[in-house]
Amino acid sequence: MRFMVMVKATPDSEAGTLPSEEMLAAMGRYNEELAKAGVMVAGEGLHSSARGARVQFSGASRTVVDGPFAETKELVAGYWMFQCKSLEECIEWVKRCPNPMPTDSEIEIRQVFEAEDFGDEFTPELREQEERIRAQIGDEAR
């Protein structure tokens, strides 16, 4: 299963303070460890909300609100996408993360929805051979 691991914003990150060299090095080591364990499948840091915007929906109308946004602790400063066997495994990996902020901070873990609901687009009519090939796979055939 896949998890979105979100680093929550702090007044520092919202002020656009860049991480220290020491923090960058520690985070680099952590990212390497994640990659070497085959856990991290994506990840990015985000600019402060001053560079963001919100689009609010009400019926047919759309209102754009420019950042920055006030509720700092609810904002996201960066994220990873982890591939793990369980929420517990994901938690264990997140516990190994260096504190991503110079102050107290929080990381939120959310499981990614796996679209098991396939709808009714499945068409039984087949135009191509689907194959299983053990030794050498061919895309054509399956």
């Binding site: 009714d120 087949l126 050498q136 054509e140």
Partner: protein, 429 residues
């Protein structure tokens, strides 16, 4: 005796174990020179953890804790040994020194330790996939020691009785000991010789998840995830090997289609019928990037996994089936066929040729394969033939071929699909 771990803690310990077990076993194998003993020591450490963590809590660095515990067990074991061999004494002595030195927080030492972990894991990879072992044993051992799967999980994944898997693992460890297989990462020519076996094991696991060889389920995505994870780990551990990235690319690209590959009732949905909006763009992006890396590292032509990944990429890049570059796919198959000489590859090439140049051209190639002994009893040969015949309007022959294919198919959904297609032809649909 302490109270058994509560449900939550039990799950936490399971998770810690899954994360730590491979490096623990790899590191211990390097130290004690026996993978069976290493796994026993690691398991002993886990048992101690299960007894003491409910009271003490999970330590801050559970990996280091487990390793230290396992080393103490090893020292006890060697010191207690009835025949005190010099070698065992030496190992015990070194373990004691290790423990006394303790964990260092110095960055250089940390980096060195990280590099050692990487080397240890690679050593374990090559040991689990050693040619002295039968292929089933390699698969079971790799999933157990590197994938962190339990024997039960492996048994379920391969629809094999638990006892059989257990036996396989026990025997494999014995075989490795008896053959005195060294714990090392092969270098130079030997690496080139041994790497395909490693890639083959990982891809076999992936394939069993991608198109199950038996049973009720058409795909087993969890097995694909296990294989992908192993492939990604290997790509990090061997960043200079083109084919390692080629395999990672192939699996990422194929896995990107997994959720589009099953209909609501679990039935297969074929490549050209898939809803491409369901393809996983994250995995496609990773796959294309890995393919770039594989191609950049390839000297003297692309290897078989990189070629297959390049073919998969042709599909991944086509937003609609009509945009598929079939001529390029044919060219890539030419390369793959030249490399492998496999009739299975030829069969796939024939399908691509039919797509690029029409069903008659494809049928000609398929007919040339009719007597290939490797394809005897292989349901895909009549299945492909049926498709081409149908497209040429030769419906009766197509019907007969589909019925034959259904009789040869291994998994249920696939068999049903073939029968449905046959019924469609008979019914004039």
């Amino acid at each position: 005796m302490s109270a058994p771990a509560s449900g939550d803690l039990q799950r936490t310990i399971d998770a810690v174990w899954r994360i730590e077990a491979p490096r623990l076993i790899a590191g211990l194998t390097r130290m004690v020179r026996d993978v069976g003993l290493a796994e026993d020591l690691a398991q002993d450490a886990l048992v101690v953890a299960l007894e003491s963590w409910p009271q003490s809590g999970v330590p801050d660095n559970p990996g280091a804790w487990l390793m230290a515990t396992a080393k103490h067990r090893a020292i006890d074991l060697f010191r207690r040994g009835e025949t005190l061999q010099d070698k065992q004494q030496q190992i015990a002595h070194r373990l004691e020194q290790d423990l006394a030195a303790g964990a260092s927080s110095d960055p250089t030492a940390e980096a060195a330790a990280a590099a050692q972990v990487g080397d240890d894991l690679l050593g374990l990879v090559f040991m689990c996939c050693h040619p002295v072992l039968a292929i089933e044993a390699r698969v079971a051992l790799t999933l157990r020691l590197l994938g962190g799967l339990t024997t039960d999980e492996i048994a379920r994944a391969f629809l094999t009785p638990r006892a059989t898997v257990q036996q396989r693992i026990v025997r494999a460890k014995r075989t490795l000991s008896a053959a005195r297989v060294p714990f090392e990462v092969p270098a130079g020519d030997e690496l080139a010789e041994r790497l395909p076996a490693v890639l083959g094991v990982i891809y076999l696991v992936f394939n069993e998840g991608y198109a199950a060889s038996a049973g009720e389920d058409w795909t087993r995505p969890e097995l694909c995830e296990d294989a992908l994870r192993l492939g990604r780990i290997l790509a990090e551990l061997m960043p200079r090997e083109a084919e390692v990235h080629g395999l990672a690319a192939l699996m990422e690209l194929q896995a990107s289609r997994l959720r589009a590959r099953r209909g609501p009732d679990g039935a297969p949905v074929l490549l050209l019928d898939q809803d491409r909006s369901r393809w996983d763009l994250l995995l496609i992006g990773r796959g294309l990037k890995a393919l770039d890396r594989a191609e950049a590292l390839s000297r003297g032509g692309l290897g078989p996994y990189t070629l297959q990944a390049a073919i998969a990429a042709c599909h991944a890049r086509a937003r609609v089936p009509e945009l598929t570059d079939w001529e390029r796919i044919v060219a890539l198959y030419d390369g793959l066929a030249a490399l492998t000489g496999s009739p299975v590859v030829e069969l796939n090439r024939a399908v691509a040729v039919a797509m690029a140049f029409g069903p008659a051209a494809g049928l000609e190639l398929v007919d040339a394969l009719a007597d290939a002994p490797e394809l005897a009893g292989y349901h895909l040969l009549p299945s492909v033939r049926a498709d081409l015949l149908a497209r040429l309007g030769r419906r009766e022959e197509a019907y007969a071929e589909l019925t034959r294919a259904a009789g040869l198919a291994g998994n249920e959904p696939e068999r049903r699909l073939l029968l449905e297609r046959a019924a469609g032809l008979a019914g004039g649909g």
